[in-house]
Symmetry: C2
Subunit: 359 residues, 2 copies
């Protein structure tokens, strides 16, 4: 593999000195880009796109080529793992994911198994192909869903308004939920390790739904399983550390505990005050985030002002502090593509003043 010519994201995640605040965007390869829509049309469906290493490589690189972002993230979906478990995944147009065979009774939970890695081969092939295509320009981030977030989809059968089914299971039959989580932990750890083996240079756990849990339940059913995943993930590859990021949407209230989960960086949504969060964890982890994706619908000058607000909230980045700029959630499909160029340029130019030690 060629050496990385831009490793700023990796260094920022490990709180090493960098010349500016690196930036990438959750769901950066997506429907807001015309070139993505064209590739997606060729693939025929979202799942077909995710399952084709060649096409997944193509869309992963599109935002890198267009914007000069500081990291690529594997184009895939968190539900590849439960799909490989045989739950029957489909994406109805405009309706989000659906599982044909959700886990609703003890028998289906008992039958749940860690899927053979071979069934996810297309993901690892995509990782390898993307690494090759990137040719060292920027690092590649691999990812998985959190064990609890996967369980939400696996039990509810799809997106849910109030997560009544999984919450009823949690309070009525917590052992059953823990059995699902146990399988998800083992599957997710193996999945991330295989991504790292294939070439992923950092990993992120997306905990989209941990934030719906009560205090106490979050720690037991979402954070602890993520900690268990992280404990099994290899930390070094190609002679350098593979940083890990944990992102619980709506989880800023638990940041002290998240920062002690074994991750190198904590992702934050837009409701969090980066400065206050940084103080609360005393810079023990890097922070990633946290612009409201809707800022990208504003005028250029407003985007620049909001970027400045975010950088200012984080504050000066000295020795031992790390900030990776990102949105607080996936970019909206309706985002005007030019707004992303404004954002990236604003982050790169404005952030230099916040970095005392340049590297």
């Amino acid at each position: 593999m060629p050496p990385l010519s831009n490793d700023i994201v990796l260094r920022a995640l490990l709180r090493e000195p960098v010349p500016y605040t690196p930036v990438w965007l959750m769901r950066q390869a997506g429907r807001y880009l015309a070139e993505y829509r064209a590739t997606r049309a060729r693939a025929g469906s979202f799942l077909a796109l995710a399952k084709s290493p060649a096409l997944a490589t193509e869309v992963t690189l599109q935002p890198i080529d267009r914007y000069g972002l500081d990291a690529a993230i594997l184009f895939s979906d968190i539900l590849t793992v439960p799909e490989a478990m045989g739950l029957g995944l489909s994406f109805a147009e405009g309706e989000g994911p659906r599982f044909e065979r959700p886990l609703r009774d003890e028998a289906s939970v008992r039958a749940l198994r860690v899927p053979p890695l071979e069934s996810l081969r297309y993901v690892f092939d995509a990782v390898a192909e993307i690494r090759k295509a990137l040719a060292g320009r920027v690092p590649l981030i691999g990812f998985c869903g959190s064990p609890f977030t996967l369980a939400c989809y696996m039990v509810e059968g799809g997106a849910s308004k109030d997560f009544g089914t999984i919450k009823s299971m949690l309070y009525k039959n917590p052992e059953l939920l823990e059995r699902i989580l146990e399988v998800n932990v083992a599957a997710s750890a193996a999945y991330l390790n295989a991504q790292i083996d294939a070439g992923a240079q950092a990993v992120m756990i997306f905990d989209t739904w941990g934030g719906i849990l009560a205090d106490g339940a979050y720690q037991r059913f979402s954070l602890n399983p993520m900690r268990a995943v992280l404990a099994q993930v290899q930390r070094e590859k190609e002679g350098r550390r593979v940083p890990s990021i944990v992102f619980t949407k709506g989880g800023a209230g638990w940041i002290e505990e998240i920062a002690q989960s074994g991750c190198d960086a904590v992702g934050l949504d837009w409701t969090a005050d980066l400065g206050a969060c940084r103080k609360r964890i005393a810079d023990r982890c890097a922070l990633q985030g946290n612009l409201d994706p809707h800022v990208l619908f504003a005028k250029d000058s407003d985007i620049e002002r909001e970027v400045e607000h975010t950088l200012t909230r984080f504050g000066e980045v000295g020795e031992g502090a790390g900030h990776v700029f990102n949105l607080g959630h996936g970019i909206s499909q309706f985002t005007p593509p030019d707004a992303v160029a404004v954002l990236v340029s604003a982050v790169k130019s404005q952030s230099r003043a916040f970095h005392k030690v340049s590297a």
Copy 2:
């Protein structure tokens, strides 16, 4: 008016000593109760029920009669105010509220006016009739939606998945949103004062959607307008203080600032740790909450255990500390009614041990 025979909620909201932790439940008069469904069927529709003082009184008292809760809350809806502004409210079965004429352009915002109180007379008549029917058994809580939460419905036209329309307005044309909020502040303050005049003994502001805002935007567009409402609300009536509660769902991250908004108590959802929140505001306000409504789907012994967990998290209630037990969100329509009896009895019996000073 007859004197209150149970004023424990009012005293707890003002952090005065009480013998046990009082309890009421958000949306306690609702579809989970067969007697509510019977009255609702007689009314014909949700709006007809809310607009009939006699029927609103009937359903307001149903959970008091059944469970011996420590407070009644006016049966109504936060959208009565924008309805009175002429936006054309309807509730499609199973679909939530819809406004026929949402605020989408400058002209409709400029035309927005504080509605005459006369158009909300049915609410104040209901308050007076409920007070009479309660005959001093427990206090009556009045309420309104937060100016920002009302604006969400007024701009989006109904419930929304990502609040794209109002957030675009917020970032592209904040002055327009502030004009809406200004009208909502004036209307809400007048509305709460008229409820107090009619007999409401405490008031609560429901900020259902403030928690979707970015840090910074929350303070400007949700908290500040609530502060403005509170500044205009009368604080005394019938010779005693009228306590006020502010509840921002998902707002625990801002609790220090909410506690300084002029309210007497802060409502918290289930994601918050009551003990940590109490420390953060140094008991400057009472706290209300915060059991996950889904706990009510569990076995009796699990409900009792979760009640104990909540009481323990708050901790000992000595001089100057106040806790009003509640759910962290409205009770689900699918709740088994017997579970509520278990909850109320568990709170009343278990909480005595946490109160050092009995009154």
